[in-house]
Amino acid sequence: MSITRRTALAVAAAAAIVAGSASAQAQTTLKIFTGGQQRPDVMRQILDVYMQRNPGIRAEVEVGGATSEQQQQYLNTVLASRDSALDIILIDVIRPAQWAAAQWAEPLDPYLGAEKDAMMARYLPAYREANVVGGRVIALPYFADSQFLYYRKDLLQKYGFQPPRTWDELITQAQRIKQGEGNANLQGFSTAGAPIEGTVCTYLVPVWGSGGNLTNAQGRLALDGAAAKRPFELFARMKDTGVLPNNIAEIVTDRIRLDFQAGNVIFAQQWGYAWNRFQADADSQVKDKVGVVPLPSFADGQPSTCIGGWQLAVSAFSRNKQAAVNLVRFLSSPEVSKMQAILASHLPVFPDVYTDADVLKANPWFAEAQPVVRAARTRPVSPRYTEVSDIIRSNMNAFLAGTRNADQALADMTTRLTPIFR
């Protein structure tokens, strides 16, 4: 069998390399892989603290591709080859199930032992849920994120509106403000519509908001209810009323931020990173004019949002698992969560850190963010999530572009998703 022979060769080669280097160094060196977006500079500062306290450990940061997808493609190659070069890997919140299935992440339960339950209980519930797959702890949370509804405080005040609680209110307000402002460039509501990961959230948030979900309690596909159609109805209405920008099918995450920052958007569904750019960027046209609230729901539903954030996994092929686990526990501690909140404005994964005085001083808006992050939901948990994501985003994108209608999109999603959730 090709795979086994390849593996045997690979392991032999890896063993030879490691044997050669281990004798040369008395210290344990840990390699941590992170994306460029996850502030490797801040991670290095944090690691300096750890290395000072643990002189036997040297921790090095390897910075990967720019986007979550680019990083994962690289990691897929490395881990499919069972390479031991990386010890700790920062992974997107959508990945633990895939990593668990592929057996790339070392399950942490044996290392946590009796402390496991007490330790996991301290995290925000959504992160507890996201990192435990089939009862096993696959990774520990590093920092949190979720989608918020950003709105133009100044415009809403001008027209006497409160931030919208329902999608209906949002549409009415957007229409009125657009009319009143008479600015053709002003977009009512912007969200991701290009075939990218964020567009999965564009679809799922209204599904959740009307009490539905992609899968039922048994993990089977549950796209037959009214909830599955809700997003299509919602965005069709937004298109008809001119609330959505007409190039919605081209919109990627940062385009929303840029348009909003230029003062061209009233409401936006957007991740946490945008807040600092709106407030701190020199060219921001919306400084101090931005409000953040939970995303709207339907009149008969619950507000909900998509969870984001990054998790620390220990590579199953690491040669220093115990040392790696120790470092991961440090990186996933309230102490580091607080450091990140202050140094990088990363949303904490512990409820207490949100109310910490130093943290609030650096990020006053965290007070409003906590309830949103608490209500955030995980995207479907599946070892084949990348396929799931691809099916949802391409159909949503085709619907928003107007090349597929709701029934066609839903039918295509159902046919292609059913075998995955069998």
Binding site: R6, L9, A10, A13, I17, G35, G36, Q37, Q38, E62, V63, G64, G65, A66, T67, S68, Q70, Q73, Y74, T77, V78, A80, S81, D83, A85, N185, V252, T253, D254, R257, L258, D259, A262, N264, W271, Y273, D283, Q285
Partner: protein, 274 residues
């Protein structure tokens, strides 16, 4: 066709070619002098409102751009040297010597060009790992050499074919070994072909992205195309900054082809790509 034409026809023809070739570069250059806000203004601006060099400062400050330049240069140069040498040997053997299975070898070199590289990434990664050269220049030099081998072999083979046998024989009478004759007579006479092959190989290596992303992920060995994508982040794509980095990346290759443009064109001519 070569009759005298009015000056304006010639100038117009030249202008079309120049504009077609230069406008994206010009657009990047102009963008690199703008701010991100200006990029989003409506209607769009063509010339920068207030030109700034800030993006260039930032490009060198945010990432070790000079290191990426150095790595790209080394990887491209090494793979070019290797590719031209290997291809010249192979082309000479195939054209001038008696080789069993000549056609099989020639066509299998060409078939290489047909294999979708993207599908070979995982097995190639494993090969590079077995060789222990991952995250070194060589992990890129070897595949780039092979990548350009088909076209280089073809160009060089057609050059070697045109060199009279007598010259070589004469050299051998004068005491040159066969190898010496190759080195002293054949190679110099096919210099234009060697140049063409070298430039083709160099540009191919300079531009490659997908393998570089996977096989040279450490910052110490990262090449320009991969390095430049690092200016973007999970969500953001800062065009002015990336444009500045792109201009920096385009300068060396532009200078190179500007210096050798005469030879590239004449090499393609004489090689005739028969």
């Amino acid at each position: 066709m070569f009759g005298l034409k009015p000056r304006w026809v010639v100038l117009l023809a030249g202008t079309i070619v120049v504009v077609n070739g230069f406008f994206p570069m010009l657009w990047i250059l102009l963008t690199s002098l703008k701010t991100e806000t200006e990029l989003l203004s409506q209607p769009i601006t063509y010339l920068p409102d207030r030109p700034t060099l800030a993006n260039y400062h930032k490009a060198f400050a945010d990432q070790p751009l000079h290191l990426f330049l150095f790595n790209s240069f080394m990887v491209s140069t090494l793979s070019t040297l290797l590719c031209v040498t290997v291809s010249a040997f192979a082309a000479y053997a195939l054209v001038r010597l008696k080789v069993p299975f000549r056609n099989l070898i020639l066509s299998s070199i060409l078939v290489v060009a047909m294999f979708p590289l993207i599908s070979l990434i995982v097995p190639l990664f494993q090969t590079m790992r077995l060789l222990g050269i991952l995250n070194t220049w060589w992990a890129l030099v070897l595949p780039y050499t092979v990548l350009s081998m088909p076209v280089c072999t073809l160009v060089l083979a057609s050059f070697f074919q045109d060199i009279p046998h007598d010259l070589e024989s004469a050299a051998m009478i004068d005491g040159c070994s066969r190898f010496g004759a190759l080195w002293r007579i054949v190679v110099p006479l096919s210099a234009p072909g060697v140049f063409t092959a070298a430039i083709l190989a160099f540009v191919n290596a300079w531009d490659e992205f997908l393998l570089a992303l996977t096989f040279a992920n450490r910052v110490e060995v990262r090449t320009l195309p991969v390095g430049i994508t690092l200016y973007q982040s999970e969500f953001a794509f800062p065009w002015p900054l990336i444009s500045a980095a792109l201009i920096v990346a385009l300068i060396p290759i532009t200078v190179l082809i500007a210096v050798f443009q005469e030879r590239v064109v004449s090499g393609l001519t004489a090689g005739g790509l028969k």
